[in-house]
C-alpha cells in the first residue's frame, strides 16, 4: 500500500505543474494587426507626417533576424486591466475614455512566430493567443498574399478557428488603435460587429480563420470584410476580393450585398427603389429572408448559371412625397416587381464586374459546378477563373414577396 501511494504522489508532484501559470501573469492577446514593412513612404508622409514613431521607439521595434530583412510589422493588442477590487476614483470612470484600455505593441520582423517571441522581451506578461478575437491585415499585406502571414495562426495549437479576419484600408495597426466608445477594446468592438449581419447585409460575416483555411486549401476565391477606422470608430465598409491568397480589389457595399445574396448567405437587409407611383419618392423593402438556388446549365460547352433568388420581406418605409396608401391592390404587386428588378440589376452588375474586372469567382460557382457537373468541371477546372468564368452566361430570376406593410396602411 505504501509503495503505490508514494508512486502516486510522485506522479502528481513530479509531473504536475508544468504548464501552470496564474491568470494574472498571462497576457491575453485580443487582436493582431499585421502591416507591411517598411511602410509605404509616400502615403505615410502625405497623410500624417507627425505620426511616424520617434527614433527610440523604432529601435525597440526592430528585431535582429537570423536571415532575411524585416517584412512585417506585427501589432498585438493586450488589455490593460485595472485593479477592480478598489473602488474606482471618480475621474477615471466619467472621463470620457480618453486613455486607452489597451496596449498595442508593435514588433517588426520577418516571421510572425519569431516576432511573437521577441515581444516577450518587451512585456512582463506571457502572451497567450487563446482568446484572440480578430486578425487585421493591411491591404498591402493582402495584395502580397495572406497565406504567408496566416500560416502561424493556422498552425499554432493555441489559436481558435473562430478568429475573425479583416482587411484594413491603409494601416492595420490604426484599426486596433481605435478607442471605442461603448466597447472596452477595439478588438472586441470589431469582432462583435458581424452580429448585425441579420439586419445589414453589407457586412461580410462568417469570415473566421477556419472558413479562410477551407477556402484557401480548396483554391476558392472569397471576400473578406474591410475595416476602416477613425480615431474612435471602426466601419466595416464593403469587402476585399481574394483570389488564391492575394487580394485583387475592393468590393463596394452594394456589391457585397449582391455577393452574399448569390452565395445564399444573405440574412436580412434593405433594398430601396424609386417609387413606381410617385415621381422622386423612395420605397424601402426590409428583406427578412432570402434563398438562392443556382443551377448550372451546359449547352455546347457554354455555361449558363441560372440563379433563382426568392426574397421575402416587409414594406418598411416610404420616403418623400406624402402619404402612401398601401391598400391600393396593385401597389404591392408593382412594388414587388420594382424590388425584383432592383435586386436582379444589382446582382447582374456585380457578377459582371467580377467576371470582367477581377476575373475572380468569389461567388464560388465552381463549387456548384463541381458538385452538379463533375464531368464538365474536370474538363475546365484548370481554366475556370481565367477564361471560363468570365465568359459564363448568367440568368437571374428574382421573386420578391412583401408580407407585411407595417403598422400604418
Amino acid at each position: 500500500m505504501a509503495v503505490p501511494s508514494i508512486l502516486l504522489l510522485c506522479i502528481i508532484f513530479l509531473s504536475g505543474c508544468w504548464d501552470q501559470m496564474n491568470i494574472e501573469q498571462r497576457g491575453f492577446v485580443l487582436g493582431v494587426a499585421i502591416d507591411a514593412y517598411p511602410p509605404a513612404p509616400a502615403k505615410e508622409e502625405g497623410k500624417k507626417p507627425g505620426e511616424t514613431p520617434p527614433e527610440e521607439e523604432m529601435e525597440l521595434e526592430i528585431m535582429e533576424t537570423h536571415t532575411g530583412k524585416p517584412l512585417y510589422a506585427l501589432t498585438v493588442q493586450l488589455p490593460i486591466l485595472r485593479k477592480s477590487s478598489q473602488p474606482s476614483e471618480g475621474g477615471t470612470s466619467g472621463g470620457g475614455g480618453q486613455d486607452s484600455n489597451t496596449w498595442d505593441i508593435t514588433q517588426i520582423g520577418n516571421s510572425i512566430y519569431s516576432m511573437n517571441r521577441e515581444l516577450l522581451s518587451r512585456t512582463s506578461l506571457a502572451l497567450y493567443y487563446e482568446h484572440l478575437q480578430v486578425i487585421v491585415l493591411s491591404d498591402r499585406i493582402a495584395r502580397q498574399g495572406i497565406a504567408d502571414v496566416l500560416d502561424f495562426f493556422t498552425r499554432d495549437p493555441e489559436m481558435r478557428r473562430r478568429v475573425r479576419v479583416f482587411i484594413s484600408k491603409g494601416e492595420a495597426k490604426s484599426v486596433l488603435d481605435v478607442t471605442p466608445r461603448v466597447e472596452e477594446y477595439a478588438s472586441m468592438y470589431l469582432s462583435k460587429m458581424p452580429i448585425n449581419a441579420t439586419r445589414n447585409s453589407r457586412m461580410v460575416h462568417q469570415t473566421d480563420l477556419g472558413e479562410i483555411i477551407i477556402a484557401m486549401h480548396n483554391d476558392f476565391s472569397f471576400i473578406l470584410p474591410v475595416a476602416q477606422s477613425t480615431k474612435d470608430e471602426i466601419k466595416i465598409s464593403g469587402a476585399a476580393a481574394i483570389k488564391g491568397d492575394k487580394m485583387v480589389g475592393w468590393v463596394s457595399e452594394l456589391e457585397t450585398e449582391a455577393v452574399k445574396m448569390i452565395q445564399n448567405r444573405y440574412l436580412g437587409g434593405v433594398v430601396t427603389v424609386s417609387s413606381p407611383e410617385k415621381e422622386g419618392a423612395i420605397e424601402v423593402l426590409e428583406v427578412t429572408k432570402a434563398k438562392t438556388k443556382i443551377t448550372p446549365l451546359i449547352k455546347n460547352d457554354e455555361i449558363t448559371m441560372r440563379i433563382k433568388i426568392m426574397a421575402a420581406g416587409n414594406y418598411a418605409e416610404h420616403v418623400q412625397k406624402g402619404v402612401q396608401n398601401t391598400r391600393v391592390d396593385t401597389l404591392i404587386a408593382r412594388l414587388q416587381q420594382e424590388f425584383e428588378k432592383e435586386i436582379a440589376k444589382n446582382c447582374a452588375a456585380t457578377i459582371e464586374k467580377f467576371q470582367s474586372e477581377y476575373k475572380t469567382d468569389v461567388f464560388q460557382f465552381c463549387q456548384i459546378l463541381q458538385a452538379e457537373e463533375p464531368a464538365y468541371w474536370e474538363k475546365i477546372s484548370g481554366d475556370w477563373e481565367d477564361h471560363v468564368f468570365p465568359g459564363m452566361n448568367v440568368e437571374i430570376e428574382v421573386d420578391v414577396t412583401i408580407n407585411l406593410t407595417g403598422s400604418t396602411r
Binding site: 504536475g16 504548464d19 491568470i23 485580443l30 477590487s85
Partner: protein, 521 residues
C-alpha cells in the same frame, strides 16, 4: 521490549477480570439482610442505592425493596409497591400466610414484574431503574419495572429540518423512540429485538425490522456483526455501527444516521433495518446508499417533478461542494481558454494585485470557511451571532479590500459553503468538505486533468464501496433499472409500485390499485 510485553500481558488479562464478576454466579438467599448487604457490596455502597425494609401485609414477614433512586420512578414505587404491600393487601389477606405467587398475582399492582434468582439479573435491572423486592424466607426475588422516563420531551428535528411532514425527533430514551416508530407503523410484523451491548456498562439496543419485508439474510448479517462486538460500552449507536460496516475507514457514511422517526419508518417499510440504542437521540439505518443519503423527507411531500428537480439540484450541490474551488484553481492556473473572454478579463482584473497564487488564495479561504463553520457549531448560541458578523463581513469584506484575496474567490467560497448545506446527510456533507482539499491539490498540480482523474478515482472508489452487501451507488447503474424511479430523481408515487429491488425484499409489492366497485349504489 520486556516491559512492553509485560504491559501487554496485563492488558490482555483485564477483560477476563470483568467477565468473571465476583457476583455473576451469586444467587439470592432467604435472608433479606444478607441480600441487602450483598447488593450494597456489589454496587460499592453507592449513595443512590436505596433500600426500604417493611412488614409484609400487616404480618410479621419482613421484606425489603432496593432501587437506584436516581433512575427509578419513586412515585410509582410508593403507589404500586409499598402501598399495596404494606397496607392494602392486609385487608384481603385473611389466610395469614402467603407465598411468592400470591404476592406476584394479587398484591403487586405494578404493570411489569419478573421473578429473579441470580444477582446477575438483579444488578442489571436495578441499574436500569427497576426495583427488587426480596422477602424473608424466599430465595427468589421479584424485579419490578419502575424505570423513570426522565429526560427531554420529544422536540423538533434540529439537524434534519423539513418544511412539511412530521416535526418530531428522537429523544434519548429508547422506550419513547420505539413508541415514535410504532405509532407510525401499526403492523404486528414490526419487530423490535432487544439486545444488550457492552462489557462493563450494558446498554440496551433494539434491532428494528419488518418481518416479511426485510430480507432475512440482511437481518441476520447485522445481528451477527453486532454480536461479534465486545466493547466496553458504546456511547453512541453511530459509533457502534461504524465499527461493523464493510469499510470502517471510508470517509463516506455507510450507514444512515437520522433523528427523524418518519425516515426510519419509510426505511423499515422499504425493507431496511434500523438500530436504536438507549441514550441516543438517533437511529441508524442500514444498509444505505449514496442516493439515499441525498434524499430528504421533503421530497415526498411535493409533486414528483418538482421534487425531482430539487433532488437533481442537490446533486449539483454535491459536485459544487467538492469541486468548485478546485475547478477555480484549475481554470485560472491552467486553462483560462475554457472561459469566455469577458469572464477571463474580469477574473484577471479581480486578481490584479492579489499577492498569492490562486491556490494559496483558495486554500486560505477554504480553511477560513472550515474555521467559521466549526466555530459556528462550538460557540454558545448567545455569542453565535458574532461569528456570522465577524466571518461574513469582516473576513469577507476586509480580506478583499486589504487585497489578500480576490472578490471572486469570496464568491466561490460562499457558493461552496452554501452548496455544502444542501447535502441532507451531515456525515456525507463532511465527507464532501474533506474531499475539497485533495481535489484542490490535484488541481494545483495537474489542472483540470487532475480534477478529472480525481473524479474518476473517486467514482471508482464509490463504486467499490458496499454497505452491508449493498452497492453504495445503487440504484445508479443498470442492475436494477426499476429502482431509478427513486434514485437520482423521485418518480411519481403511482410509479413506485414495488419496493426497491436492490434490497431484495421478501414482499416486493408495496402499492397496487384496487378495482373500483362498479355496482355500488
Amino acid at each position: 521490549m520486556g516491559i512492553l510485553k509485560k504491559l501487554f500481558k496485563q492488558k490482555q488479562k483485564t477483560p477476563e477480570q470483568f467477565n468473571s464478576h465476583a457476583w455473576s454466579h451469586l444467587m439470592l438467599s432467604g435472608d433479606i439482610r444478607d441480600n441487602i448487604s450483598r447488593l450494597n457490596e456489589i454496587m460499592n455502597h453507592s449513595s443512590d442505592l436505596k433500600s426500604r425494609e417493611f412488614n409484609l401485609a400487616g404480618s410479621s414477614r419482613r421484606a425489603a425493596i432496593l432501587f437506584v433512586s436516581t433512575l427509578a420512578n419513586e412515585d410509582m414505587i410508593q403507589e404500586h409497591i409499598l402501598k399495596p404491600l404494606i397496607m392494602e393487601s392486609a385487608v384481603f389477606n385473611t389466610r395469614g400466610s402467603m407465598d411468592l405467587n400470591d404476592i406476584r398475582n394479587s398484591m403487586l399492582s405494578a404493570d411489569s414484574i419478573q421473578i429473579v434468582e441470580s444477582f446477575d439479573d438483579i444488578v442489571l435491572g436495578v441499574m436500569a431503574g427497576d426495583t427488587i423486592l426480596t422477602i424473608q424466607g424466599y430465595d427468589k426475588g421479584i424485579l419490578i419495572h419502575t424505570r423513570g422516563n426522565q429526560g427531554r420531551t420529544v422536540g423538533e428535528p434540529a439537524t434534519e429540518p423539513s418544511v412539511k411532514g412530521p416535526q418530531e425527533a428522537f429523544v434519548e430514551i429508547l422506550k419513547i423512540n420505539i413508541g415514535l416508530i410504532r405509532r407510525r407503523l401499526l403492523d404486528p410484523n414490526l419487530c423490535f429485538e432487544m439486545h444488550k451491548m457492552g462489557r462493563r456498562a450494558k446498554a440496551d439496543y433494539v434491532i428494528a425490522y419488518m418481518k416479511g419485508i426485510a430480507n432475512k439474510e440482511l437481518v441476520s448479517e447485522i445481528k451477527n456483526r453486532l454480536s461479534v462486538l465486545d466493547v466496553d460500552g458504546q456511547a453512541t449507536t453511530a459509533q457502534m455501527m461504524r465499527m461493523i460496516v464493510d469499510r470502517p475507514n471510508s470517509i463516506f457514511p455507510l450507514i444512515q444516521v437520522t433523528e427523524r422517526p418518519d425516515k426510519v419508518v419509510s426505511a423499515l417499510s422499504e425493507g431496511r433495518v434500523a438500530i436504536l440504542m438507549n441514550g441516543n437521540p438517533e437511529a441508524v439505518i442500514a444498509p444505505t446508499t449514496l442516493p439515499i443519503l441525498m434524499h430528504s423527507s421533503d421530497d415526498y411531500f411535493e409533486n414528483w417533478m418538482i421534487a425531482s428537480v430539487i433532488r437533481l439540484s442537490r446533486m449539483v450541490g454535491v459536485f459544487v461542494t467538492a469541486l468548485f474551488p478546485a475547478l477555480y484553481i484549475a481554470v485560472t492556473a491552467f486553462h483560462p481558454d475554457m472561459l469566455p473572454i469577458n469572464l477571463v478579463l474580469s477574473i484577471t482584473s479581480s486578481r490584479m494585485g492579489v499577492p498569492f497564487p490562486a491556490y494559496v488564495e483558495a486554500l486560505l479561504m477554504v480553511f477560513t470557511l472550515e474555521l467559521l463553520q466549526e466555530a459556528g457549531i462550538r460557540l454558545p448560541r448567545v455569542v453565535g451571532q458574532t461569528v456570522s458578523i465577524v466571518g461574513g463581513l469582516v473576513i469577507g469584506q476586509a480580506a478583499v479590500s486589504a487585497g489578500i484575496v480576490s472578490p471572486l474567490m469570496v464568491i466561490i467560497t460562499s457558493i461552496t459553503a452554501v452548496a455544502s448545506f444542501t447535502v441532507p446527510d451531515y456525515s456525507l456533507g463532511l465527507a464532501l468538505r474533506f474531499l475539497r482539499v485533495p481535489f484542490m491539490i490535484l488541481a494545483v498540480t495537474l489542472g483540470s486533468f487532475g480534477v478529472a482523474m480525481g473524479m474518476l478515482a473517486g467514482l471508482t472508489y464509490l463504486a467499490s464501496l458496499k454497505s452491508f452487501g449493498l452497492s453504495y451507488l445503487e440504484p445508479i447503474g443498470t442492475r436494477y433499472p426499476s429502482d431509478w424511479k427513486d434514485g437520482m430523481i423521485r418518480g411519481s408515487l403511482w410509479s413506485m409500485k414495488k419496493r426497491p429491488k436492490e434490497l431484495n425484499p421478501e414482499d416486493p409489492i408495496r402499492l397496487s390499485k384496487r378495482k373500483r366497485e362498479k355496482n355500488r349504489e
